[in-house]
């Protein structure tokens, strides 16, 4: 199987998952107590408004017609109209998406950059102080609720030292990076003061998780027969570690990352809630408390599609690292 075919196969599975996500989201409104209109319409809507909404949405049509209609709408980028916020759902959702992506990417970067060297260091200095430090960190890291960690960071760095911002987003990362490129350091630093605490909050669990996986994977690989053979043929230890052991360690790490993507998105939701980060997470929470059902549906679909897309990237990475996946 070639790489292209492998990715095509995964892509098709992804399309199926997206379809499933859409269907579940569509059906969710029928497993809620009360009739759909009471969920979709504002709470204080008059019976006449309700009637109008029901007619406009075609809620009195057969289920499959509504379903097909919904699917066709989605394909055209139409997630429905929110009578509560008086905007189209897709406009709201896509306005929020970049902020969440920015946060997730920042957190992932922090996690990957810190955790892999830490895990390697921990494994190659087994039972030494750095190893104890790293294992303790990863144990505490995977056991700490990130919202509490966020609050503790706020307590420490904002309330006590007043260094970082604790709420909001400031400018976008694109503008921050262009400011950095043009040497406008102040702007860049101000961006950093906004994103640092949320990124640490969201990234800690993953840093801890990947450190743990890297450490145990490295220990396995370093004790394996091929590593011994690689040493025996005279390769310097650095090559043995990084070119051979680390590469194979990363295969399961990447797999787990793919599996845990949902955790990353869920973590982003709550991190956004802690730092009033204007992303999808706050939108999800607000739309639930505000009963903005259409926006919630749109958010869920975007999250599901994002999950599938990122997983495709993870699959490609996995295939790149492990030739056994595609060469047969």
């Amino acid at each position: 199987m070639s790489l292209a075919r492998f990715l095509l196969k995964r892509g098709l599975q992804g399309v199926f998952v997206v379809w499933g996500v859409v269907t579940v989201v569509f059906l969710l409104r029928f497993i809620t107590p009360g009739d759909p209109i009471s969920v979709i319409a504002p709470l204080d809507a008059s019976p006449a408004t309700r009637q109008a909404i029901a007619a406009e949405l075609g809620l009195n049509r057969p289920l499959y017609v509504q379903y097909l209609d919904y699917l066709v709408g989605l394909l055209q980028g139409d997630m429905g109209y929110s009578y509560i916020s008086n905007t189209s759902a897709s406009a709201r959702v896509f306005a929020r998406l970049p902020a969440t992506l920015e946060l997730a990417v920042a957190a992932t970067l922090v996690a990957v950059v810190l955790s892999i060297p830490l895990g390697v260091l921990s494994a190659t200095n087994r039972n030494e102080p750095v190893d104890y430090g790293a294992t303790t960190f990863s144990l505490v890291g995977i056991s700490t609720p990130n919202f509490w960690l966020g609050i503790m960071l706020v307590l420490l760095f904002a309330v006590e030292f007043g260094v970082f911002k604790t709420s909001g987003r400031g400018i976008t990362s694109a503008r921050a990076l262009s400011a950095l490129a043009t040497g406008n350091l102040d702007v860049f630093v101000s961006w950093l003061t906004y994103i640092t605490l949320p990124a640490i909050t969201l990234g800690t669990y993953f840093t801890a998780l990947i450190t743990r996986l890297t450490r145990s994977g490295m220990l396995d690989e370093l004790g394996s027969a091929y590593v011994r053979a690689t040493r025996a043929k005279g390769l310097p230890e650095t090559l043995v570690r990084y070119r051979h052991a680390l590469r194979n360690t990363l295969i399961p790490v990447v797999t787990v990352l793919g599996l845990q993507l949902g955790t990353l998105i869920g973590g982003a939701v709550i991190t956004e809630a802690v730092f009033a980060w204007p992303g999808l997470g706050t939108l999800v929470i607000n739309s639930i408390t505000g009963r903005d059902w259409v926006v919630l549906q749109g958010s869920l679909i975007v999250i599901g599609v994002g999950f599938v897309l990122i997983n495709l990237v993870v699959d490609a990475l996995y295939a790149y690292l492990d030739p056994r996946v595609v060469s047969d």
Binding site: A229, K233, G234, L235, P236, N248, I251, D322, P323, S327
Partner: protein, 421 residues
């Protein structure tokens, strides 16, 4: 001494211990042997006898919790001898250097040009995620770089670190190995009889059969043009028909390259077919050594006799060690008394066997035939034989052997096997 009679390797009194949670395991205890230029030297023993650990100890690849605790490994290398004669006089004797006394970097730089190793299981001895050609090319490349800049290679990374790994991963096409090394790798694959080597070089280990992989491993071992090739059970994991092919290949290559081979196996047939001289190991010690005919035609040690007793015909394709009654001792230090380690299984054990036994000249005919047994000095006297069940009680007496732990406790067995891996 004629040229072919010169030693290339003299191992003296080598001891390796494993410091496990169950206690100290004496995997190798005071092992000595010589390997000559251009010969195949055989080391034979049951699994758990310490023969593989002996090989790993020679190339300094014993992994934690194992540790070489004493001994010398003299390796003939006039250049190194010259280089260290002034600096480390104790590490140099004539043309020989003691690897154990040389700096770690120097010792490691000898992996490849000094010693190469072919391991038991080719399936797990190659990295599954790099092509076979790439892995052989690495072995070539590391020596090329070493020759180009001998000083910096000994201890350094050859310019390869985490940063470079990341760059290599992100930017395809950049790599450690060069074009020349790849070409050489294909030549080597051709030399070990892999058809269509250029194509196969680009394949991954899982696309190879076991026999082909072992050929590739041998090609990789040849890449450094070693003086001594250590083959640790090279055919055990393979089908019987493939075994013969690999052995023939090893023999041909040994003659072509004029290298020395240390062949480690539990298979007496392999020894008989390949080796000129042989050492028999039991419980971490070498119990008998000599030329092939000394040991096979005229064994002195009751253990060797027991092993050979099972083989009606040395040409038999797959003779195995005869299961001698009793078990291999656990090698736990606390359970090894100051006595002949074989005494609890020896049909001729006597009272004089209950103290440490040295290597003795075994017979007048050959000056290199030695055995670790009182029978080299005295004849068996039935009246001094140890009473039946002497070792069964485990009542202290410096004996006890391994019987109480063996068989009853699977963990103890595992530990023992691991010590030999």
């Amino acid at each position: 001494m004629s040229d072919s009679q010169r030693d290339v390797l003299r191992v003296r009194d080598l001891s390796t211990r494993f410091f496990t949670e169950e206690g100290q395991v004496n995997a190798v205890e005071g092992v000595s042997f010589d390997v000559r230029d251009g010969e195949v030297y055989g080391i034979v023993g049951e699994s758990g006898s310490g023969k593989s650990v002996t090989a790993l100890s020679v190339i300094d690849l014993v992994a934690s919790p194992g540790k070489i605790t004493s001994g010398e490994v003299w390796y003939r290398n006039p250049d190194l001898a010259e280089e260290f004669r002034a600096e480390r006089p104790d590490a140099v004797r004539d043309e020989f250097v003691d690897l154990r006394r040389l700096p770690k970097g120097v010792r490691r730089s000898l992996r490849g040009p000094g010693f190469s190793t072919v391991f038991q299981d080719p399936m797990s001895s190659l990295n599954p995620s790099l092509t076979v050609g790439e892995q052989i090319a690495e072995a070539v490349e590391v020596q090329r770089r070493a020759r180009a800049n001998p000083r910096s290679t000994r201890s350094r990374t050859q310019g390869y670190g985490l940063g470079k790994f990341l760059v290599d991963s992100l930017v395809p096409g950049r790599d450690y190995t060069g074009e020349e090394s790849h070409e050489r790798a294909i030549e080597l694959l051709d030399q070990v009889g892999i058809p269509d080597p250029a194509q196969r070089a680009q394949e991954y280990p899982h696309q190879f059969s076991g026999g082909m992989l072992q050929r590739a491993m041998i090609a990789q071992a040849l890449a450094g043009e070693p003086d001594v090739l250590i083959a640790d059970e090279p055919t055990t994991a393979l089908d019987v028909t493939i075994q013969a092919q690999i052995l023939n290949l090893l023999r041909d290559l040994q003659q072509e390259e004029d290298m020395s081979v240390v062949l480690i196996t539990h298979d007496l047939g392999v020894i008989a077919r390949m080796c000129s001289r042989v050492g028999v190991m039991y419980a971490g010690q070498m119990v008998e050594r000599g030329s092939l005919s000394d040991v096979f035609d005229d064994p002195v040690h009751p253990y060797t006799q027991g092993l050979l007793g099972s083989i009606p015909d040395l040409e038999n394709p797959a003779p195995r060690l005869q299961p001698i009654e009793g078990n291999v001792p656990s090698l736990l230090d606390s359970e090894m008394g100051g006595r002949c380690y074989f005494a609890d299984r020896c049909p001729k054990a006597m009272e004089s066997c209950l103290h440490p036994i040295e290597m003795h000249d075994a017979d007048a005919g050959s000056d290199e035939h030695e055995a670790r047994c009182v029978l080299t000095e005295t004849d068996y006297r039935p009246e001094e034989a140890l009473p039946e069940g002497y070792f069964d009680g485990g009542d202290g007496d410096g004996g006890g052997g391994g019987r109480e732990t063996d068989g009853s406790d699977p963990e103890a067995r595992e530990e023992e096997v691991r010590a030999d891996d």
